[in-house]
């Protein structure tokens, strides 16, 4: 009750602030014209911590462009989290993938830098969160996904805070916890130890000391417990710790160690967010009048926005555009399933429908097939083999589109290979078509047949089964399914690369060419090894 009131008065204060700052609008205009970047409020007191429960809605104006780019940056982060979670990555693995991405897209730096950039960082984090609330509040499913990803982001960021920041942040949250006194801790000593024994062991295993001795003694666990601060809180606040029996319970209170607090505030965070999203949903109809924002929000919530894959086309391989038309079939093993099955269909039918042609030919362009070789490749595929067309027909009806893709015809635009988002946004394939994303468009049986043909089996060295891939596809996590397939097929190479200290990109696949480049990169690394041997 108390918290609610506080929030309401906060809201009122914001309102007053806004009306007092009468030249708010001017600030915004000036800023967008690039005249001044210091005329606005950059008081860090609005964002006292690096982390936030996002209890206050934004109140400054931003440009439509900021609105969109900030939201997209955050969305990229959330999608990466989602994909990692659905692939069953551990918290640690996720941390290592997300850290660089966060630094790039949503940095929250330590307060040693100058405060104006800190303010901007926190403002971007704050505003982008609220924009995505608008985009993701419309359906139960979107709300669920948003809460899950945001809560994980919160957990990841909490762990990046220093101990002092964690403590400051925790005490800033209005939760009814009490400190467990020393005498109480003494009284329940054996019970607290029993509840947190394995968790403490898990923490100690990560210490430097363990690296040396490779064992954790009971005495170490006991002295860790000795130093650990305990809090008690009504059990309703920590259902996660209750159901797994990780917390000592006494008379309605759960006894929570400081290291367990994250679980508690993360639960609180997702609860708060869930309530707020419901409120936002009810308020959404009033937004309908603003025709600048609705399309942006609609696009955002489609969720097909994914991380841009920055390729350097043509610079692939040694000396770049070295791929010969004849070589193309031999690269099929490094192609993602969508391209692989386009190739298969092309070679059996000597033909592909328009969208399929576009999807494959731009992909091949991306892996280093130049215009000349491309013409040779397509002409050969279309005109040789039983029942195929003659060269004259090919030249008349098809050559143009392939040349067009290389910017040699019409508007002379150098088209880029399609990313997953583009592929998913095209019309779904009919029976005669071969384009699209197999994880979305193929029937379960066909998909599992194709996966088997690619070399997956029901064990894959414990890395996951075909059933897992099918499950991901059915959940609509197509990119996660594709990434998982990649990881299974390239496990040995990835392991070797890690062993040789090579940088292994484990982010989710968002572009067919990214799949190919990653596969050939790992392949080359393996070859080096063989040469050495």
């Amino acid at each position: 009750m108390f918290r609610k009131v506080k929030r309401r008065t906060d809201g009122r204060k914001n309102f007053e602030d806004e009306s007092l700052q009468d030249d708010h609008h001017h600030n915004h205009v000036e800023r967008s014209l690039g005249k001044s970047s210091n005329g606005f409020n950059d008081d860090l007191s609005i964002y006292p911590h690096r982390l936030s429960f996002y209890q206050m809605p934004p109140f400054e104006e931003i440009t439509v462009e900021e609105f969109e780019t900030w939201a997209i940056d955050r969305l990229k982060v959330l999608l990466e989290i989602e994909s990692n979670m659905s692939r069953g990555k551990s918290f640690r693995e996720m941390e290592s993938v997300l850290k660089p991405l966060l630094a790039k897209l949503l940095p929250l730096n330590v307060p040693s830098r100058e405060s104006s950039s800190l303010y901007l960082e926190r403002k971007k984090d704050h505003y982008s969160h609220f924009i995505l609330r608008l985009a993701f509040c419309r359906s139960e499913e979107l709300r669920g996904r948003f809460i899950k990803a945001e809560t994980m982001l919160f957990r990841l960021r909490f762990n990046m805070l220093s101990l002092k920041e964690q403590r400051d942040f925790v005490s800033s949250i209005d939760l009814p916890w009490e400190t467990v006194t020393d005498s109480e801790k003494e009284m329940f000593h054996s019970k607290l130890l029993a509840c947190s024994y394995s968790a403490i062991k898990g923490i100690l295993v990560q210490t430097v000391e363990y690296q040396k001795t490779k064992r954790v003694t009971d005495a170490q666990v006991a002295s860790f417990l000795e130093a650990e601060k305990f809090y008690k809180i009504p059990f309703e606040f920590v259902p996660e710790l209750i159901s797994t029996r990780q917390s000592f319970l006494h008379k309605g209170y759960a006894y929570v160690a400081q290291f367990q607090q994250l679980s508690l505030i993360a639960t609180e965070f997702s609860k708060h967010l869930s309530e707020q999203l419901n409120i936002t949903m009810r308020a959404l109809p009033t937004l309908d009048e603003d025709d600048r924002l609705i399309p942006v929000l609609n696009n955002l919530s489609k969720g097909y926005v994914s991380i841009d894959y920055q390729q350097e086309f043509g610079s692939n391989g040694d000396g770049g555009e070295g791929l010969k038309a004849e070589m193309v079939p031999s690269t099929m093993k490094d192609m993602p399933l969508c391209m692989n099955s386009l190739m298969t269909n092309l070679m059996t039918d000597h033909h592909l429908k328009y969208t399929g042609r576009q999807q494959l030919s731009l992909f091949l362009k991306g892996i280093g097939l130049n215009a000349e070789e491309s013409m040779r490749f397509w002409q050969f595929q279309f005109t040789s083999g039983p029942g195929s067309m003659n060269v004259e027909k090919f030249n008349k009806e098809y050559k143009y589109t392939f040349r067009h893709n290389y910017g040699l015809e019409g508007g002379r635009i150098n088209y880029k290979p399609w990313d997953c988002r583009t592929i998913l946004s095209k019309a779904r394939p009919t029976k005669q078509d071969s384009h699209g994303c197999p994880y979305r468009d193929m029937h379960r049986d066909e998909l599992s047949f194709k996966l088997t043909k690619m070399g997956l089996n029901d064990d894959n060295g414990g890395r996951g089964k075909i059933g897992d891939i099918l499950a991901l596809s059915e959940k609509g996590e197509y990119q996660a399914a594709c990434t998982k397939v990649f990881e299974i097929l390239n496990k040995d190479k990835m392991d070797y690369a890690l062993k040789t200290g090579l940088n292994v990109d484990e982010s989710s696949i968002v572009h067919p060419n990214q799949y190919y480049d990653r596969a050939t990169y790992l392949e080359k690394n393996m070859k080096k090894k063989e040469e050495k041997a």
Partner: protein, 440 residues
């Protein structure tokens, strides 16, 4: 962890061979399907007619007490008026979403409808009978007692004395143990105090937790409580994962079960005597060599008692010098697997789940679903559950002159305590609200 290793040593006598302290049990127990107790139980059964039910509702069922229990106040409020009731009729028809505006409407409707029994559900934001006037999204339960349902049919793989709907004194001990363990956890761990245990009329018990804190729990929190209690992971069929050291609740439950294991399981139930069941015992051993050795040995030496077989595991563990697992761990696990309370998770978790009201008559047995207080006396379904037939013989219309009296008195005391607490707590909740609203 010195305390843990010590406790293993302390316990080992109870876990060890039973023969030293007790007479050879195999000669005493005959694991046949009919025991004297069950025969007693059966003669007691009486299927009530519609006229019986009508007379019972009219004269005996304490409507006012039930009203106050669910309403938490003498005058009708939302806790009661927006509460769902469901009726079950003799035809098998089931009528949900009834609701009543007062105690007298509650009583008169039931007397008129004469259901074979009625069930109690959750409190909704609108009167359940008016649910069609609001959107579906509005019909989300707001509050309900936290309930638990323990039923002997869930113990069929360990009890040999009875099966299905039948019960006897021997297998009722499982229920008594379950009550002890669950009651302690709810009071000591979760801090609940307004709990009433109710005989379900045939082979199980219900527990209603009426504390305000329990009533406002959402489903996620209800789930967390059941999962905390559900050490066996009954529903998920996962392997019981007892991390060592044991959680205090597990440790405490073990202390309660350990002392009963020899009597209840080894001697009375004797579950592994029969050849088709002893394979289960052999397979529960986490060592392939030992398992196959046991199966072979018992095939060659049939009809050994459970006590013998329990000892055989020990003997062969030592003679085969098995090192792959700790036999004390295995024994402890078996004690949990055979005796730990088996809960119906869904009944407790789902807020819109309904449960039969106290003081209903079990349509199959004629037994009254009486409340009882396990802290005063262990409940004996053959002694302490009044049967409708007996009640009618005792008096025509005055419950105070019948065997219903102890149950109704107990329930009234429970309701009075609850209401007193409730009124006090409500006053402080309201004044909190007032203080907060003054800030504006």
């Amino acid at each position: 962890m010195p305390s843990l290793s010590e406790s293993i040593k302390e316990n080992s006598s109870a876990l060890g061979t039973p023969s030293e302290t007790s007479p050879e049990p195999s000669s005493q127990i005959n694991p046949s399907m009919t025991s004297p107790a069950e025969v007693v139980g059966e003669t007691k059964f009486y299927k009530p007619s519609t006229a019986d039910m009508s007379h019972y509702y009219d004269n005996f069922l304490p409507f006012k007490s039930i009203f106050q229990w669910l309403n938490h106040s003498p005058a009708p409020q939302k806790d009661f008026t927006m509460r769902e009731f469901a009726f079950e009729y003799k035809s098998g028809a089931y009528h949900r979403y009834n609701s009543f505006s007062s105690a007298s409407e509650f009583k008169s409707t039931i007397i008129k409808a004469v259901p074979t029994r009625f069930e109690i559900g959750a409190v909704y934001p609108v009167q359940p009978k008016l649910r069609k006037t609001v959107s579906k999204a509005m019909m989300k339960p707001l509050m309900k007692e936290f309930v638990l349902d323990i039923d002997l049919t869930d113990y069929d793989d360990v009890r040999t004395c009875c099966s299905g709907t039948a019960i006897c004194h021997k297998c009722w001990k499982f229920i008594t143990l379950a009550i002890k363990i669950v009651d302690l956890a709810l009071r000591e761990d979760f801090g609940f105090s307004h709990m009433i245990w109710v005989f379900s009329g045939r082979r199980g018990v219900h527990c209603w937790v009426s504390d305000y804190r329990a009533r406002i729990l959402d489903e996620q929190k209800r789930r967390s409580i059941v999962e905390y209690l559900d050490v066996l992971s009954v529903k998920s069929k996962k392997n019981m994962n007892l991390r060592k050291p044991y959680h205090p609740h597990v440790e405490r439950s073990f202390d309660i079960l350990r002392d009963q294991f020899i009597d209840v399981i080894i001697r009375e139930q004797d579950p592994w005597r029969l050849d088709d069941r002893c394979d289960d015992l052999a397979r529960s051993v986490p060592d392939y060599k030992l398992t196959s050795a046991l199966i072979r040995y018992w095939k060659e030496n049939p009809n050994r008692s459970s006590a013998d077989k329990w000892r055989d595991v020990d003997t062969m563990y030592n003679s085969l010098k098995v090192k792959t697992f700790d036999i004390q761990d295995w024994k402890r696990e078996m004690i949990f697997k055979t005796m730990y309370p088996r809960l119906d998770v869904e009944v407790s978790r789902q807020m819109n789940h309904l449960l039969k009201s106290p003081f209903c008559i079990h349509p199959g047995t004629g037994n009254v679903c009486v409340p009882f207080d396990p802290s005063v006396k262990e409940f004996d379904p053959f002694q302490d559950a009044p049967n409708l037939k007996k009640v009618f013989e005792e008096d025509e219309s005055d419950w105070e002159k019948t065997s219903l009296k102890p149950g109704i008195d107990l329930f009234n005391r429970f309701v009075a305590d609850l209401m007193q607490d409730e009124i006090r707590a409500k006053r402080s909740r309201d004044s909190d609200d007032k203080e907060n609203s003054l800030e504006f």
